[in-house]
Amino acid sequence: MILSLRQVKKYFPVRSGIFLQTTGWIRALEEIDLDIEEDKTIGVVGESGCGKTTLGKVVARILRPTSGKVEFLGEDVTGRVSKDVERKFRRNIQMVFQDPFNSLDPRMTIGEILSEPLEAHRVFSSKKEQDNYVKELLVKVGLYPEYLSRYPHEFSGGQRQRIAIARAIALTPKIVVCDEPTSALDVSVQNQIINLLQQIKTEYKISYLFISHNLDVVYHMSDKLFVMYLGNVVESGESREVFENPLHPYTRALMNSTPSWDPNQKRLQTVKLLGEPPNPINPPKGCPFSTRCTIRIERCDKEKPQLVGDEKHKVACILSEV
């Protein structure tokens, strides 16, 4: 186990009035349990506002949880930690962001961008060694060493995402959090990046936390799958099992809403899902999905279902308990 989250909650305050008093909370994450094992990819799927990015940021320690516990290699890293632990943590957990147009500093050359983490962690003693390593990195992600002196604006979206990946793996981390790494890219380039991420995983034995709204991409990448809705994990388990045998009505709706790519078998007309996700400031009392669920019963409005099942497949739905 590299990293584990136990009962992690993250609430953001809503402030209003002249004195900016806290008038409510946005419940971005509700009691999440997550274990990241070595060389395993965990996929997180859900729609916008479901808390998947917040989860990624909590894992990368960009955000501290409101309550719950985060453990990294046996050490508690929930709150403030010593400098040594912080250093070790940062070295081992890196992030690839969604939009490669905003995640690279426009005033730094590619060489500077890739050297920065190496210098911050004083990996190499000589400049020459470091330069060689940076060149190797560029080749590894499918770019040319000549690009080192260029600036980000000279590259296309796909190439920039390659640079962002090179920066993330520069310190040979154990975990890389990928937050929608392909959704800003063109269709023809998207698969190149997914292949690259897979290839790097085999070579470096990296565990990914792979976040996306695209169920097909997440399934392709992951060993385990988490389906999130309104801050809650509604279904989780081995990705093959979840994908082939979805139990939660939301997971099923999500799968059916993906267009079919076949004009003879149009799928969207069969989608019965109504309405939109409720506001996370004021979520439904019972099941978070109860406002849109087509098969809900009375109990769903009152009781919040717990995530139950074995390691292979868990689901949070009252109907599956019966």
């Binding site: 796909g158 063109d186 269709v187 698969n191 997914i194 392709h220 267009p259 790519w261 004009p263 799928r267």
Partner: protein, 321 residues
């Protein structure tokens, strides 16, 4: 019967780096009551094509002809255009939040459209708008009418935009990636609504998207664009059953399927070319796995087959090359 005929349309922009041929010699027809999908990746010219049709490209050089019914739109003056834009041809934009003015309620913005194009006073305009909001399935339309864009979700706003486009009962609606910014479950709702309304209003629609899944769900015919050119024209069933152009083929192949798990995904090598620097000959040839010698030298002609037309040298008989 075609309601819009585009012939040899070219839209060039002058930039310090040289002339950008955003749209380069394309021809197509929009038939009555059909949904025509324009598919392509970013920078392929699909948005510029429709902006040119609407006369919204300032400072660009436009050549060729755009015929809407009996009117030649390329010869239109700005005042003539305002009589057609929004009334006969209306547009739905990609980003619902940035397409509305944040300082006015959606009601005010809708009434503005109605008063500008239909002959009526504000009170009856309001009634027309509320009727329209009902039709796009907005709950509590009377209440929503007085709300500001920021108070509504993306899916809701996109419905309002559809209502606004339909309120003048136009002949043509141009929808520029109307569901790209939405979540899949909301996308499904909006697309279904779109189809329903199209059947009621019998509008012709140009539907721009980059998602072949959406194309399969909504379109009747498809035109695939690459680097400012239309490379393939086909009916939806023909395109998915039998794609012809190597670009279309690879795009359809690159869909992530279940069987691909733990395997390398098929992909198209290289990047989409920049508009300032298109390759010679066929613009897809540097990325094409079946490129011939002639592909880099001469632009391919358009070859018409049963249900499709394709611009590719592979379909030209030997003696004509």
């Amino acid at each position: 019967m075609s309601i819009l005929a585009v012939r040899n349309l070219k839209t060039y922009f002058k930039t310090p780096e040289g002339s950008v041929k955003a749209v380069d010699d394309i021809s197509f027809d929009l038939k009555e009551k059909e949904i025509l999908a324009l598919v392509g990746e970013s920078g392929c010219g699909k948005t510029v094509t429709v902006l040119t049709i609407l006369g919204l490209v300032r400072g660009a050089q436009v050549y060729g002809s755009i015929k809407y019914k009996d009117y030649e739109l390329t010869k239109f003056s700005e005042t003539e255009y305002t009589r057609i834009r929004g009334r006969k041809i209306s547009m739905i934009f990609q980003e619902p939040l940035s397409a509305f003015d944040p300082l006015y309620t959606i009601g005010q913005q809708m009434v503005e459209v109605v008063c500008a194009h239909l002959d009526c006073d504000k009170e009856s305009a309001k009634n027309i708008c509320i009727e329209m909001l009902k039709e796009v399935q907005i709950p509590f339309p009377e209440k929503r009418f007085d709300e500001y864009p920021h108070e509504m979700s993306g899916g809701m706003l996109q419905r309002v935009m559809i209502a606004m486009a339909l309120v003048t009962k136009p002949d043509i609606i141009i929808a520029d990636e109307p569901t790209t910014a939405l979540d899949v479950t909301i996308q499904a709702q909006v697309l279904n609504l779109f189809k329903q309304l199209q059947e009621i209003y019998k509008t012709s629609i140009i539907f721009i998207t980059h998602d072949f899944g959406v194309v399969a769900e909504v379109a009747d015919r498809v035109h695939v664009m690459y680097a400012g050119k239309i490379v393939e024209k086909a009916t939806v069933s023909a395109l998915f059953a039998n794609p012809l152009h190597p670009y279309t083929k690879s795009l359809l192949k690159s869909r992530i399927k279940k069987e691909f798990k733990n395997r390398t995904l098929p992909y198209i090598p290289g990047n989409v070319p920049l508009a300032t620097d298109f390759p010679s000959g066929c613009r897809f040839h540097p990325r094409c796995d079946r490129a011939l010698k002639i592909c880099s030298q001469k632009e391919p002609p358009e070859i018409c087959l049963n249900h499709s037309a394709v611009s590719c040298w592979l379909y030209v008989r030997g003696d004509e090359k």
